[in-house]
């Protein structure tokens, strides 16, 4: 990702000259039609339906009947007065931010741990990353049982004398959202770890040694040497987790179904329910438009903020 970011920046300054017409300097120029199969698939699956989606967001279509009418911003006005929708927007943002912070925080600590000289580092790398390859819906069903009132988590708390910590993790509206966050952190902290680890291993050992000779302690070395050099890796990890968090569907669907009540509904689960159980096609697509706007703003803001941070370092 960093490569492409840099390339794009270079393009903006000075496009590389096309030297294929230089005398005696034959250049291989791949033809434009190489892009056609990819473009056709992309247009059929993403571009055209997305454009049609934006159109339907301004109608009252139920998804079936041939008659529907243009209602302008009606769906969006309805959304403002719909507590389920406003809550879903709020939950989506809370989950995205919480996952981004916690998953990457844990991932970074794990990466620092398995990048040290401990003997179990190779086993731990494989073990901690394993949840990331497990199908999310499967891990969500597993956790639905573990977090139940008589589940293993409560049993474990009882067994170690923390009875007062026992909870109805998924049934209590105040806790359920955080349980969902916890499950996702369990699953994907290893994913962040692997990317951080790749970044850590690209930092030359000599820089650390020089800093150590200059008297910098472990924490100082992390803050002044490792952290700035990891800036591009932070960019990747933060982008991945915030976009993943905003689009989240599978885990919520399997863990809580959006409940209890609407306590864990995200934009994705609400879109699904409104479209396929309530037949409110137009309205649910309007929700998808809101989701698109959130994703675009978040990723653009993050891209700009982080590329400035990267520039400040380099």
């Amino acid at each position: 990702m960093t490569v492409a970011i840099k390339d794009r920046r270079a393009d903006a300054v000075a496009p590389p000259p096309d030297r294929r017409r230089g005398r005696g300097n034959r250049r291989a120029t791949p033809p434009w039609w190489f892009t056609v199969p990819a473009l056709l698939l992309f247009a059929f699956v993403v571009l055209v339906p997305s454009a049609r989606g934006v159109y339907y967001a301004f109608t009252d279509w139920d998804g079936l009947s041939p008659d529907f009418s243009w209602i302008g911003f009606g769906n969006f006005a309805e959304m403002v007065d719909d507590p389920a929708a406003t809550q879903a927007v709020w939950h989506t943002l809370v989950i995205a931010v919480a996952i981004t912070v916690i998953q990457n925080g844990v991932g970074l600590l794990l990466a620092l741990g398995v990048n040290s000289i401990i003997k179990s580092r190779n086993v731990l790398r494989v073990l901690l990353f394993a949840p990331a390859v497990v199908t999310p819906i499967v891990s969500a069903y597993l956790w639905r049982n573990l977090l139940g009132p008589d589940g293993a988590v409560n049993s474990l708390l009882g067994a170690v004398g923390l009875d007062s910590w026992r909870q109805d993790w998924l049934g209590d509206p105040d806790i359920a959202l955080w349980s969902v966050v916890g499950v996702i952190v369990w699953q994907f902290a290893g994913y962040s770890m692997v990317i951080f680890l790749a970044g850590l291993q690209s930092i030359p050992r000599e820089i650390h040694e020089a800093a150590a000779i200059d008297g910098a302690g472990a924490i100082r070395r992390f803050w002044s040497v490792t952290r700035p050099l990891l800036a591009p890796v932070f960019t990747i990890n933060l982008m991945l987790s915030i976009i993943g968090g905003i689009k989240l569907f599978d885990q919520v669907y399997a863990l809580t179904g959006g409940g209890p009540g609407h306590a864990t509904d995200t934009l994705s689960t609400l879109i699904y329910k409104d479209a396929f159980t309530l037949g409110e096609f137009g309205y649910s697509i309007a929700l998808a438009v809101v989701l698109t706007i959130i994703v675009s703003v978040a990723s653009t803001g993050q891209y700009l903020g982080l590329s400035r941070a990267e520039k400040a370092v380099s």
């Binding site: 590389p16 892009t35 990819a38 059929f44 993403v46 055209v48 499967v138 069903y141 293993a152 698109t292």
Partner: protein
């Protein structure tokens, strides 16, 4: 700073404890999957008289064999198409400096930001009109289009860092551009192809939302949908459900442990660009 000292031992113990916490759910999973339904002791207590009946029962009643075959078909089919069209498209996008190529690249990159929820419902209509709903072909078509942006992005980033001298030489030697692509460019792309293959295969294999939508009602389901249906059907019988979960996890974990070194490197390397 590179010697194993007292604090290193502390770190080692802390990390092992963390590893055990991460592995705890797997212990419970296996422990309950081999337990008889009549055994109602704590989920933490090791199962005293293990049974494998749950597995055979889950396999038969969940029609997991058919679902597994469908998942393999959809994953293999999608990944082949994704890699082929993305590599082909990335070649001119990385090499041609003309305006059309820059705009095409930007257009495709738009797909990285658009959430699939926006396209999912209108596409559902299109698939229905084409009569593809309920078949694995709808999924292969869907993933092929959906994963093009990310995969093209990986290929373009990689290609830009590769010198074009080999292709030029092949051209001078009388290759057509298509031959040059097939025999010169594709082999050079091998490292990034492995990464793209792993990332796409995991994404397609794990997806739940799309097959839930496009295959609902049909007889041909993928593994995640079959599992969801199974859980809905055997709500309270967690021993049976856990056996089904184990069955669905085993194939991917076997592949993971066999290839873990290149998978972990692929994940990290692919994302570094």
């Amino acid at each position: 700073m590179n010697r194993y000292r007292g604090w290193t031992l502390t770190l080692e113990l802390v990390m092992i404890a963390v590893g055990l916490v991460f592995a705890f759910p797997v212990y419970v999973l296996v422990n309950l999957a081999i337990r008889q339904p009549s055994d109602t002791s704590s989920p933490l207590a090791p199962t005293t008289s293990p049974t494998f009946d749950n597995f055979t029962q889950a396999w038969e009643q969940g029609a997991l064999g058919g679902a597994l075959a469908n998942s393999v078909l959809v994953t293999v089919g999608s990944v082949v198409v994704i890699l082929a069209v993305s590599a082909l498209a990335a070649y001119p996008l990385a090499r041609v400096a003309a305006r059309w190529s820059r705009w095409t690249f930007l257009l495709i990159m738009l797909g990285l930001v658009l959430p699939f929820q926006l396209a999912a419902l209108p596409l559902y209509q299109a698939m229905r009109d084409l009569g593809l709903l309920g078949t694995p072909w709808s999924l292969i078509l869907f993933y092929s289009g959906l994963q093009v942006p990310f995969t093209t992005f990986l290929y373009v980033g990689f290609l830009r860092a590769v010198p074009r001298d080999f292709e030029d030489a092949a051209l001078i030697d009388g290759c057509t551009t298509l031959q040059g692509f097939r025999y010169v460019v594709l082999p050079m792309l091998k490292p990034v192809t492995v990464t793209a293959l792993v990332l796409n295969a995991v994404a397609v294999w794990n997806d739940f939302f799309t097959p839930l939508l496009y295959l609902s009602g049909g007889a041909q389901q993928t593994l995640p949908v079959a599992i969801a249906g199974f859980v809905g059907q055997y709500v309270a019988d967690w021993n049976l459900i856990f056996a089904a979960l184990v069955i669905s996890i085993v194939p991917i974990l076997v592949v993971y442990f066999a290839l873990q070194r290149s998978i972990i490197n692929g994940f990290a390397g692919g994302l570094k660009g």
